[in-house]
Symmetry: C2
Subunit: 346 residues, 2 copies
Amino acid sequence: MNLGILFGGSSFEHEISIVSSITMQKVFKKTNLVNIFVSSDREFYLIDKKDMKSSTFSSGAYKKCKKLQLQKGGFVITGMMGAKPVVTDAILNLIHGRDGEDGKMAALMEFNGIPYISPRLEACAMSYNKLYTKFFAGSVGVKTLPYEILTINDERKITTPLPVIIKPSRLGSSIGVSIVKDISELDYALDVAFEFDTDILIEPFMEGIKEYNQAGSFTDDWELSIIEEPHKEEFLDFEKKYMDFSRDGTVTSADISPELVNKIQDSFKQIYGTLFRGSIIRCDFFVQNGEVYLNEINPIPGSMANYLFDNFEDMVVNLSSLLQKEPKIKIDYAYIHSIQSAKGKA
Amino acid sequence: MNLGILFGGSSFEHEISIVSSITMQKVFKKTNLVNIFVSSDREFYLIDKKDMKSSTFSSGAYKKCKKLQLQKGGFVITGMMGAKPVVTDAILNLIHGRDGEDGKMAALMEFNGIPYISPRLEACAMSYNKLYTKFFAGSVGVKTLPYEILTINDERKITTPLPVIIKPSRLGSSIGVSIVKDISELDYALDVAFEFDTDILIEPFMEGIKEYNQAGSFTDDWELSIIEEPHKEEFLDFEKKYMDFSRDGTVTSADISPELVNKIQDSFKQIYGTLFRGSIIRCDFFVQNGEVYLNEINPIPGSMANYLFDNFEDMVVNLSSLLQKEPKIKIDYAYIHSIQSAKGKA
């Protein structure tokens, strides 16, 4: 099978997407990977396996690779002899942040009738914006932490008691995130967050709260990963997360009770529901006093959280064979015909 | 100025989009319209002004028109001599329902760097799905009617007292909508709604509730239409709404108190906020006992609600000149460089 790996994008997380895609070269052992890079100016390039190393991108050498066009049915190489298709059975959307997680790639693939592994457009919108994630989680009965919202033109006043955690509404990978313990730190933290977004989310920062990550997918049945308790200091800064995106080993399950495992798995299934069909996501949960809270949905997790699965490759191949397209809509011009005949023009 | 009119799409509302686009030919008097049709199989065609009549589409004659490709910067005609650009200063997204209102066109335009009038991707997601509209309205302090949700695999039991109105979550133009006054009608109404969506919304049907429509946009300032009290029987069925999409006259303002005008305008501004920048939308409100409730957001209203504006054309031209693109993200490969130097590969 030929699996397209779509990575890069016009995103603050462009570089970690490159790291994720390089990791995929090691993770997939039986599958032929077709690496499609989206440059920061949103051109598509076909990258040979031998060039799948970070220097290809940081040096600009990718510009000498074959340029691709996206058209109905898939990517093509255009040239003097017409368009030559780049054969992919499915595309794995591995663009973190803008372009990938905001729904653009989903829209491009869906519109062009290309099978793809990724949250669909609506699922992207609900997970890319952390405020909407809270609405959505509430609607499927999953708790989230209390919060307040500040937009860029609001007065810089908050009501949540310190310490608080400050996050841009629409970014992942801890970019622009700060913990504010003293009110004197607030202004700078807001400056940082507003550099990345016009809306920011303020939540209570719970010292010592337990965090657990659950990844999974639905193929012909649930495919749930082990539950990991991520190692962290206060929280992972960008550089540490960055290194984290190149993980390809395996980890051990969190040492938690079967009851808590069930609660976390149930919460994951509620979130994934039908909205996230076609995707592999990771949900990060907080647990306090036995209650499970959704912290965030990673709609396109770093290196797709391969290290949490027994057999990531088989799951991807299985999912690829089960991808659904939007239902066809039959257009028969019945209304136009009836209006025409009413007007005597039929 | 050259304004692209993008219409059609793979949508249950394909035909009403054609009607809307034909109406635009009369509404724009000074602007050169470039008509771009999206066929039901999602090919783009350039339609000459003389062919902008319903029979071009219902007869299939559009297939003889020039085919377009969408690429970075805009649409092009490809041929033996290479790609010839189709010049547009901005694109007006006039695709109702799927493809247009679900965010796909917004994603395609944004990704390709084409200025466009339409709700952006996130705004589409929040207005296309009526459940998400309720979350969003609540978050900006605008009331909506109480509701319950039924998904296709749920038991067919409802708790809202009759009469109720049953709507597919993701469609406009009253498609699949029924009023259920007697419990014996419920099953058939659900069958109809589930033909169009996997999720449906059930709301109390308020006999005699007042309805008011407010359209508007934000250019360099608010551009609000008059407020219309739509004539209706119980509600407009599809065929009547269909005819409604060809309106190009003007209507008179609803005869309501200045206080109610203010309340409706304020609610509109809250909804439009920053989320809907770049678009012209119509909000349909209910009023009961002086309270204003948002019924729905029409992210791409029929014939863009031109008949509610004093000078629709000037507003569109003004908005076209003020459209914002996503902020550029500078990618300097700083992290990759720092990792490379840590590994001694720099």
